[in-house]
């Protein structure tokens, strides 16, 4: 049993613990489910329809699909830099031992907590600097049927921005992008996360 030090600010009676790579994915999965059961929830259709009308409106306003993709990513970034604090405080998650653990935490705890779904981590690059998150279901895209004119759209691109922003706040700079999307007709939904560098100076997040 590990003792929780006050350095992490968590009370000794907290049921969550310092993670190291010895902790199997199953433990993270269970944590994710425990936390998901405890957080407040809203009606899924409300979120789905809100996000849908947001994307539809962006398309009407910008008219250029790649600009819409970019905007979704920026919006996601602004969400991510704020969401990470919520995540850490709710999950009691400590420092990850390595990038592999970061990936599993995102997939099993992070996504479970906020979207109610877990992702699978797969397709690691040989240098362990890139991985894919594969989703069986994407709740944001529940009723969506993409018209042919919007084929270049990454409907859930906001998720990429969220990951990018959240990781940046824990000093990891990554590129995050969609590789495959069920909404576009692919068989699975896959997000690629590419590690760029560890950040050492604490730069304030820019909001533009």
């Amino acid at each position: 049993k590990t003792t929780n030090t006050s350095r992490d600010g968590r009370p000794p009676s907290s049921p969550l613990f310092a993670f190291n790579m010895a902790n199997p994915v199953a433990v993270l999965k269970r944590n994710g489910e425990t936390i998901f059961a405890k957080v407040e929830k809203i009606n899924a259709e409300l979120l789905i329809l809100t996000y849908g009308s947001l994307v539809a409106q962006l398309i009407k306003d910008y008219e250029d699909i790649s600009a819409v993709n970019q905007q979704l990513d920026t919006m996601g970034y602004n969400i991510g830099v704020r969401l990470i604090d919520e995540f850490i405080s709710r999950s009691g998650q400590g420092r990850c031992g390595n990038f592999k653990e970061t990936a599993e935490v995102i997939a099993k705890v992070g996504f479970k907590m906020f979207l109610g779904v877990t992702a699978n981590v797969a397709n690691w690059s040989p240098d362990d600097k890139e991985f894919s998150l594969i989703f069986d279901e994407n709740p944001l895209a529940e009723f969506v049927d993409l018209p042919p004119s919007c084929n270049a759209l990454f409907y859930s691109n906001i998720l990429c921005g969220v990951l990018r922003g959240a990781l940046e706040m824990v000093q990891i700079r990554c590129d995050v992008k969609f590789i495959k999307d069920v909404v576009r007709g692919d068989e699975i939904t896959e997000i690629r996360v590419i590690f760029r560098e560890y950040l050492h100076e604490a730069a304030p997040p820019s909001d533009e």
């Binding site: 259709e45 789905i48 329809l49 849908g52 009723f143 969506v144 049927d145």
Partner: protein, 138 residues
């Protein structure tokens, strides 16, 4: 029960969707049948002005078909033309309820503009599947 044609009509009596599954009959005939059903629907709705029921039941029988109707809360109408003279009302009702479900899903698509023709490919595929499931040969 053999489903010959399914149609969805908007609140302004504009046609949102029509698909016929009977290749022997001219498409135009189904358009006509569905269109005349609209009058009957209006009559029925006026009769019921007190307690409004959504499922309108058998609207009118023609020589080869029976026409059933349903009105959604938003005044969209679902009209089903059935090929078989021995159709059970409960079967049609079940079919219409599932059609309604598909319609609701199609409407929730953020790229669908309200009160316009339903162009979603997914919807077409789902309707075809539902019709295939529900159609049983006598």
């Amino acid at each position: 029960m053999i489903i010959a044609c399914v149609a969805i009509i908007g609140r302004a009596n504009n046609l949102l969707f029509i698909r016929s599954f009977n290749s022997q009959v001219d498409q135009l005939r189904f358009h006509f049948i569905v269109h005349s059903a609209l009058d009957i629907i209006e009559d029925k709705l006026q009769e019921q002005s007190g307690s409004a029921l959504n499922y309108l039941g058998l609207l009118y029988p023609t020589e080869d078909f029976k026409v059933y109707g349903f009105r959604t809360n938003t005044n969209a109408k679902i009209v089903v033309v059935v090929d078989d003279l021995e159709t059970k009302d409960t079967d049609v009702r079940a079919f219409i309820e599932r059609m309604h479900g598909l319609f609701v899903k199609a409407v929730c698509n953020p790229f669908y503009t309200m009160n316009e023709e339903i162009t979603s490919n997914k919807f077409e595929v789902d309707v075809a599947k539902l019709v295939a499931q529900s159609s049983t040969s006598a």
